[in-house]
């Protein structure tokens, strides 16, 4: 479960939002510049909000009122960045094991499990710059999962991929959701990704929450909206 409230003012955007969710996969949905990635950064600790509180499963990550701020490295948040951010000087195997080596977990998802689920076996000895976009994102997802995270943050993981790679990575994400029980926050501006992966949706616009709804309601609204557009144009 996530409980989040935060206020943070940029020069061109003021974030002011609060929500809580018990969903296994929560989507932050909205247009570019809505503040979605800033919310992920605040959860990961890469952004310290001017005020706010974030707790995961009851454990406080930051509470500005009480002066609590868990360091980024100790938050156990697996973050899949939009651009992958693989380490170019390490091969895929070393990239995958980077978080495992840093945290040295006694339990958690095993290397072999992730390599099988994401079909990374043939890529293990390759360097990131020799991988395709879809392969890079699969490695980034695997690396995040192997860091023994209590939550997985996916920042537009399919953006920039061509149609075939996008479908492929989406299938892998579905498979991960089915087989691993990791709380996930997905940031996207694509409704089909929300429909395919999320259990609940928080819609953002200009740094504020427009609506929070279960996935069934989100899909129903999209269907109704599409039908209405078709009847107007017809």
């Amino acid at each position: 479960m996530i409980e989040l409230s935060l206020c943070h003012a940029y020069a061109d955007l003021a974030l002011d939002l609060a929500f809580r969710s018990d969903a296994r996969t929560l989507a932050l949905f909205g247009d570019s510049g809505a503040g979605k990635t800033s919310v992920l950064n605040a959860i990961a600790g890469l952004l310290t909000p001017q005020s706010g509180r974030i707790a995961l499963d009851g454990e406080c990550l930051i509470d500005t009122a009480q002066g609590i701020c868990v360091p980024v490295a100790q938050r156990r948040i697996g973050y899949v960045f939009q651009d992958g951010r693989l380490f170019a000087h390490l091969n895929v195997r070393r990239n995958l094991l980077y978080g495992t080596d840093a945290r040295n977990p006694q339990s958690g998802i095993e290397f072999a499990t992730i390599v099988d689920l994401l079909e990374l076996n043939s890529l293990l000895e390759r360097r990131p710059l020799t991988l395709s976009g879809g392969e890079r994102q699969r490695v980034a997802i695997g690396r995040a999962l192997l860091s023994h995270p209590r939550a997985l943050l996916l920042d537009e993981p399919l953006t920039g991929l061509h149609a075939q790679a996008r479908k492929q990575v989406l299938d892998y994400l579905r498979r991960l959701k089915r087989e691993l029980r990791v709380f996930t926050v997905l940031v996207t501006h694509q409704a089909d990704e929300v429909g395919a992966l999320a259990d609940e949706v928080v819609r953002l616009s200009a740094g504020r929450i427009v609506r929070q709804m279960p996935i069934a309601q989100f899909v129903a609204r999209r269907v109704a909206s599409a039908a209405s557009s078709r009847s107007e144009s017809g």
């Binding site: 890469l46 951010r85 945290r103």
Partner: protein, 231 residues
């Protein structure tokens, strides 16, 4: 060209030793200072940068005099070292210190540029994976800065190998102890019949300088992971 005379070999060997040891000795300090200047904002940072540039701007003889004032037997550091049985003034170890001081700004500047060029977003990614500051430095920042560090080492070595003014002021010209290659050339220039020796040592200097430049070019050619096989 005839072979080098024994005292010329001695000067060459001393210069190589001084050059190598000055870089090895200065490197940990240069890494620390470059990281501080690249990553931290603190009061007095500009003053520290100005101090760092001093050996590049000051006449080398003045730097040598300052080293003598500090490390001489009556200097504050010289007395402290003397109390534990270490004397550096007029010793080859003093030549290493002089060379290290003169090459230090080049070393720090090269490494700092390399650190500045490391994508901070990669460090942030490593941090989310559980890496603390030391692990991020050793596994991300250092490997991705290796070319800059190596280039800085080559530059600092070249500067140390050719060091003259600060060395002769600080440790003088003692055959077999502090007479480095440039000092030997200067000595031969002022010695009747010394020109053949000057020519020999000048050619040796040229070879070492060329090797250093070639080393820098190889380093600049790039690391294997930068070569992409696919877009």
């Amino acid at each position: 060209m005839t072979a080098l005379a024994p005292d010329e070999w001695q000067a060459l060997a001393l210069s190589l030793r001084v050059g190598l040891l000055s870089v090895i000795g200065a490197l940990p300090f240069a890494l620390g200072l470059a990281w501080l200047l690249s990553r931290k904002r603190f009061p007095g940072r500009l003053l520290l940068e100005a101090l760092l540039f001093l050996p590049l701007i000051l006449p080398p003889v003045v730097t040598g005099y300052a080293l003598l004032a500090l490390f001489g037997t009556h200097g504050p550091l010289g007395r402290a070292l003397d109390s534990i049985g270490i004397v550096v003034a007029f010793r080859w170890t003093g030549a290493v210190i002089a060379a290290a001081v003169m090459g230090f700004p080049l070393l720090v500047l090269s490494i700092r540029v390399a650190f500045d060029n490391v994508d901070r977003r990669l460090e942030a990614a490593a941090e989310t994976l559980g890496a603390g500051a030391w692990r991020r430095f050793t596994t991300i920042v250092l490997p991705l800065s290796l070319r800059g560090i190596a280039a800085g080492c080559v530059l600092a070595f070249a500067r140390a190998f050719g060091e003259f003014g600060a060395t002769i002021s600080f440790v003088s010209n003692i055959p077999g102890e502090t007479r480095t290659l440039p000092i030997a050339i200067y000595e031969l220039l002022n010695t009747p019949g010394g020109m053949p020796g000057v020519h020999r040592l000048a050619i040796v200097s040229l070879i070492v300088a060329f090797a250093a430049a070639a080393g820098a070019a190889v380093i600049a050619a790039g690391a294997p992971w930068r070569r992409s096989h696919r877009d």
